[in-house]
Subunit: 145 residues, 2 copies
């Protein structure tokens, strides 16, 4: 299938964008495609899937120093909070055809995973424990600098 059309919508949070990919629909179901480096702003070195999250649990709660991420809720729904230290927004992801680009040095949290939710995340860097900023006070200091 060809690359699907898309719209990129900015948010009030620095560098965070919402990407709408148009699914291809026919009698055989739906298909949403994304090309890395164009529709998704980077080529990933890693992916991860988050699932079976109890609805009252919060995940994320960190920023990355260098790693960018692209989040797609491929089933169910999840509320993603993004925060650049000055502005923050809560963005609900409810469809496989929406992606959320989160650049480095943006604090991210995920709330209200639905029971069937599966969150797919593409990461621009390999795993590196030193890339995580896990204390919000440190994040604010770094983001302010």
């Amino acid at each position: 299938m060809p690359a699907t059309s898309r719209a990129v919508v900015p948010t009030t949070v620095r560098g965070v964008t919402v990407h709408h990919l148009t699914p291809i629909e026919d009698a055989r179901g739906r298909l949403t495609a994304g090309e890395f480096g164009t529709e998704i702003p980077f080529t990933p070195k890693r992916y991860f899937l988050v699932y079976d999250v109890p609805v009252d649990q919060v995940r994320g709660q960190h920023a990355h120093r260098r790693c960018a991420q692209f989040l797609v809720c491929v089933r169910g729904s999840v509320l993603v909070r993004v925060d650049d230290g000055a502005a923050s927004e809560n963005i609900e992801l409810t469809t496989p055809s929406t992606g959320l680009f989160v650049p480095p040095m943006v604090w991210g949290e995920q709330h209200r995973y639905s029971a069937d939710a599966v969150l797919l995340v593409f990461a621009s860097e390999h795993y590196d424990a030193d890339d995580y900023v896990r204390e919000y006070s440190e994040f604010l200091r770094l983001a302010g600098g």
Copy 2:
């Protein structure tokens, strides 16, 4: 999170391997991670998601000349048929922690999508209509040569 441990299991179909990634589990849910170029045998140029497929529909039914793919059923289940022209296997994907590597010039079909199934596919190449072999008779001729 660090890269998860994994096992790679060959099949009887040329170059097709089943990849078991170990999920990380805690009170906040489950997470399965894969690094491209190591756990997944290539760095993707594209991904696509297939969903809302009626259970009686068949998808795929083609081979790729150059493109390799890595299939993960991230929700529900799907039966994948792979065929190298000599041997074939039906492999049921039922968990986000299993991936199926399909090299070029292997015929692939997907059957029996469950109502909630979401199939995630990583592709090693950008979309190219000329990369598809859509006639099984042509596939057999090319695979035999």
